[in-house]
């Protein structure tokens, strides 16, 4: 029965989705005819670019939420379109909701929402990291239990303001032509050993890296974390702008190891093949270097389309949504019982520390420590 309802909805959504698309096109491109002549010369190149990535096959029916009439939804997404575009489109197609997305950096969008204040057109803020959600927490409305309870407790806001959508593991990425997995220490703490001098790359300004440092402060305490930061500093680590740059540098052999999120490696493997000489390593025994972090979303208290917003979160946390992140973006599902991608170490096998996200909220303390140790300016 559930499957049948979903099918009917799919059919309707297909039609509605198309008309909605057309409307948008006219709205945005009244100049199309004129400009077409301008770009005629580019036609060949454009044609070669082909259509978008193939649609994700639906493995299970979408959740049956009651939707009386199709509405619209505005999402501010700090996650790139390359990652979440396909699943958002699928949501729009299935529900008939006209979804409009503003893509940007998580911190820039958080600042935008803060500047817009009560007048923000956004319904949903989909952020790359909890830090961005925390910055606008005062403008988020509490989520209903039905949404929150889908995610494992460690992957959601303790105040119920936001919920994790996908997880990422902190890893040590290492160059395989220089190192074997057995060369790597069980704890990230041991990289302060002088033998790692000049061989480490890290992205100190990156939000995920800082969340890891917060995890260190929680499980190791302030003093040991400070020692670790100073110890790594003494080993002349190379600073990079973000995770991508670190993985690239490790692959090129600029450095031997790097502290990053797990999934960037798989983009490189996808484009450059298995020969790309870098792999991930998960520190052992509940080490903070193996913590699982999340990307999440919340609903703004000023949202005009609250019902659609909640449907959006429901869908992202449904089996379909979760399976998408597990299979297409190489991330970890935040819902129990979803299979992870075969190339990933299953979540249960990662010996991540048992730290509540509640305890990761103190980003100010982490920034202060990073400043004091001279890791960030």
């Amino acid at each position: 029965m559930r499957r049948f309802i979903a099918y009917g909805k799919h059919l309707r959504a297909g039609l509605l989705g198309k008309t909605a698309d057309k409307g948008k096109e006219n709205h945005l491109n009244p100049w199309r005819s004129r400009a077409t002549t301008l770009v005629a010369g580019l036609g060949i190149l454009l044609a070669a670019c082909g259509p978008a990535a193939e649609a994700t096959p639906t493995t299970s029916p979408p959740p049956a939420t009651p939707t009386p009439a199709p509405s619209s939804l505005t999402v501010y997404s700090g996650r790139a379109e390359d990652l979440v575009g396909p699943i958002i489109k699928q949501f729009g197609d299935l529900t008939g909701i006209k979804v409009q997305v503003r893509y940007g950096g998580t911190s820039e969008l958080a600042a935008t929402i803060l500047e817009e204040g009560q007048r923000s057109p956004a319904d949903v803020f989909f952020a790359q990291d909890p830090g961005g959600l925390g910055a606008v927490a005062g403008m988020l409305s509490p989520l209903p239990e039905s949404v929150l309870s889908r995610a494992e407790p460690r992957f959601r806001s303790p105040e119920g303001k936001w919920v994790g959508i996908s997880g990422r593991a902190r890893v040590v990425v290492y160059n395989t032509s220089k190192l074997k997995e057995t060369d790597l220490p069980a704890s990230i703490g041991d990289f302060t050993d002088p033998k790692w001098k000049g061989r480490i790359g890290w992205p100190p300004t990156n939000a995920s890296f800082q969340a890891m440092v917060t995890a260190m402060r929680v499980s190791w305490g302030e003093a040991k974390t400070r020692q670790w930061l100073e110890g790594i500093k003494a080993n002349n680590p190379k600073e990079y702008r973000n995770n991508t740059a670190v993985v690239q540098a490790v692959g090129a052999g600029e450095v031997d190891v790097g502290f990053v999120n797990h999934y960037y490696l798989f983009r490189f493997l996808q484009e450059q093949g298995e020969a790309f000489p870098a792999r991930n390593y998960h520190p052992k025994a509940g080490d903070p270097g193996a913590i699982i972090l999340v990307a999440g979303a919340g609903i703004l208290s000023t949202a005009k389309n609250k019902a659609a917003a909640q449907q959006f979160l429901d869908f992202m946390l449904s089996d379909v949504g979760q399976q998408y992140f597990a299979s297409k973006t190489f991330e970890y599902p935040v819902v129990k019982g979803i299979n992870t991608h075969r190339v990933l170490v299953p979540l249960e096998q990662i010996e991540s520390p048992s730290i509540d996200v509640t305890n990761l909220a103190d980003t100010k303390g982490t920034l202060e420590l990073l400043r004091q140790t001279g890791v960030i300016p």
């Binding site: 454009l46 911190s107 500047e115 007048r119 540098a249 920034l367």
Partner: protein, 539 residues
């Protein structure tokens, strides 16, 4: 420097001031409006900083802040000097000589301007990094294991110089095109060698264009984030971004932004003071002939080699790395997203920005050349503030004002184009200004004495004469808009994709092939537009 442009015949500044007590309303009214608009970011920074607590002072008065500021200023100085050294020979070669394939070089040498600095830096790291592609090529035959560090000052300096010299180049070429050859001929007839003529006659006449270009480069360097963050040279703008990214702190970011703007204003005052009161136009009767073409003779091929070298490093290298990424990704089965809509959007919004900004720049430029009083000078200097402010700050300022006071146009094309105006106005003002300096105001006065209204005299006489400057200004704004990112992301109509946002979206997530396709299209579309403009200029 004195006596440049036969200043003896031109009236003195004082006489001018008395002769023109009050500029016509069609000039000062729009100019005041424009100046008010471009000061919005400054107003926003003040609002935010005033709302900050004591923490601001602790942050600002750390020794580190001074150090970082010093880095920013030294980078800006070095890049500005390098771009002048690069642009001067290139401009002369492509404007005034019989350089083989001169028009082709003219287009090719201005192309680096269309390459976004984050793409340029990404390419530089991949190609010239310690273990980049170049090292890969040298490893086998020469056993090079590691190239010297590109990170830090050298990389940032190299990338920003190669990408921003066209600011100077375009300004210079416009000025060279309008330079009266009679001056140079007089110098030669009086016994000066070609070199002495260039040094003593041509170069002083190019000073406004050089200064305007170098100023733009210095301010661009001050406000750049893409290149310095990837190349890990910690500048002031990077520190401002860090406040947003790590602490989500708008007040501290604003306080730092304000410091940057204050220093930019310092640069502006310096450049303004260096202008002096020289006149750059022909003051005697007679028509200006097209300048003579210099014969390069045996220097033809070295000249071609110079152009080729610059184009190779600043255009061909990035393009081939992008091409390589694209092919590698496609071979690995990466699917590309369609880019037709993004291309059309980019061209449309950039064209619109070029037209609007040019119209806004005209009154400011005319006032600043024709009415040299301090209010006008202040007005013209004010137009630079947006350009010197990091893009994210300008974008947030317009989010702040747009969402509050301009709700109907918030997140529409109108506000987006307005944002481009705030950001890029001085590029157009500078270009128009330097060609306007070469027009004798007596021409307009003659038209007025024959019964024309001020507006008709301006539109009928001056406007056609400063066409090279108008074209250069429009080209600069167009190309800058094509690659603009922070304001486009935050202020565009929702769902409005451009080539720049497509590049960013993919590159930020390490999809190199998917980033390469829009980057190549961006360069292609921009160069076609540039070629069209050059063609139009020729007629």
């Amino acid at each position: 420097m004195a006596g440049v442009g036969a200043g003896a015949v031109a009236p003195t500044a004082r006489a001018l001031r008395w002769a023109r007590p009050w500029p016509p309303a069609f000039l000062w009214l729009p100019a005041v409006l424009v100046a008010g608009a471009v000061l919005l970011p400054l107003a926003y920074l003040l609002v935010r900083t005033l709302g900050a607590g004591d923490e601001v002072w602790r942050l600002l008065f750390r020794a580190r802040t001074l150090l970082v500021l010093g880095r920013s200023l030294s980078l800006a100085g070095a890049v500005a000097a390098t771009t002048v050294a690069l642009a001067l020979p290139l401009a002369w070669l492509t404007a005034r000589t019989d350089l083989p394939w001169r028009r082709l070089w003219a287009v090719l040498t201005s192309l680096p301007l269309v390459i976004p600095s984050y793409v340029g830096a990404l390419v530089a790291v991949s190609a010239l990094g310690p273990r980049g592609m170049l090292q890969g090529l040298l490893a086998r035959p020469f056993g090079v294991d590691r190239l010297p560090e590109i990170y830090g000052f050298p990389g940032a300096w190299l990338v920003l110089s190669l990408l921003s010299y066209p600011y100077v180049l375009l300004n210079l070429r416009a000025a060279l095109g309008r330079l009266d050859p009679a001056l140079e001929e007089a110098s030669r007839s009086l016994g000066h060698s070609a070199w002495a003529t260039f040094r003593r006659v041509t170069l002083p006449h190019l000073r406004p264009a050089l200064a305007a270009g170098a100023l733009l480069v210095a301010l661009y360097t001050l406000s750049d984030f893409g290149a310095v963050s990837l190349l890990r040279f910690e500048t002031f703008t990077w520190a401002i971004y860090l406040q947003y990214q790590t602490s989500f702190d708008r007040t501290l970011a604003a306080a730092l932004g304000l410091v940057l703007v204050v220093f930019a204003i310092g640069l502006l005052v310096l450049e303004g003071a260096s202008r002096g009161r020289s006149r750059y136009y022909r003051s005697t009767a007679g028509a200006v002939r097209p300048p003579a073409v210099a014969r390069l003779g045996k220097w033809r091929w070295p000249a071609v080699a110079l152009c080729a070298l610059v184009v190779l490093g600043a255009v061909a290298l990035p393009l081939s790395v992008l091409g390589y990424w694209l092919v590698r990704g496609l071979l690995a089965g990466q699917a590309l997203a369609p880019l037709g809509r993004a291309t059309v959007n980019s061209l449309y919004v950039s064209g619109m920005a070029a037209a609007v900004v040019l119209v806004a720049a005209l009154p400011v430029a005319v006032l600043s050349v024709r009415y040299r009083v301090w209010v006008v000078a202040l007005l013209e200097r004010a137009s630079y503030v947006g350009f010197a402010t990091p893009g994210i700050v300008v974008a947030l300022a317009l989010v702040f004002f747009g969402a509050r006071y301009a709700t109907p146009i918030y997140q529409t094309l109108a506000l987006l184009v307005f944002a481009y105006g705030v950001l890029f106005l001085p590029t157009a003002v500078g270009a128009v200004r330097s060609s306007l300096l070469q027009i004798n105001p007596n021409l307009e006065d003659a038209a007025r004495s024959l019964g024309r209204t001020p507006f008709r005299a301006f539109a009928g006489i001056t406007l056609p004469l400063i066409r090279p400057g108008l074209a250069a200004g429009a080209a600069l704004v167009f190309l800058l808009t094509m690659k603009e990112l922070p304001a486009t992301l935050l202020l565009s109509p929702i769902g409005f994709k451009t080539l720049a946002t497509s590049i960013w979206s993919s590159a930020s997530e390490a999809f190199f092939a998917r980033a390469a396709a829009p980057a190549l299209l961006l360069v292609l579309a921009s160069s076609l537009s540039l070629a069209l403009m050059n063609l139009g200029e020729r007629r």
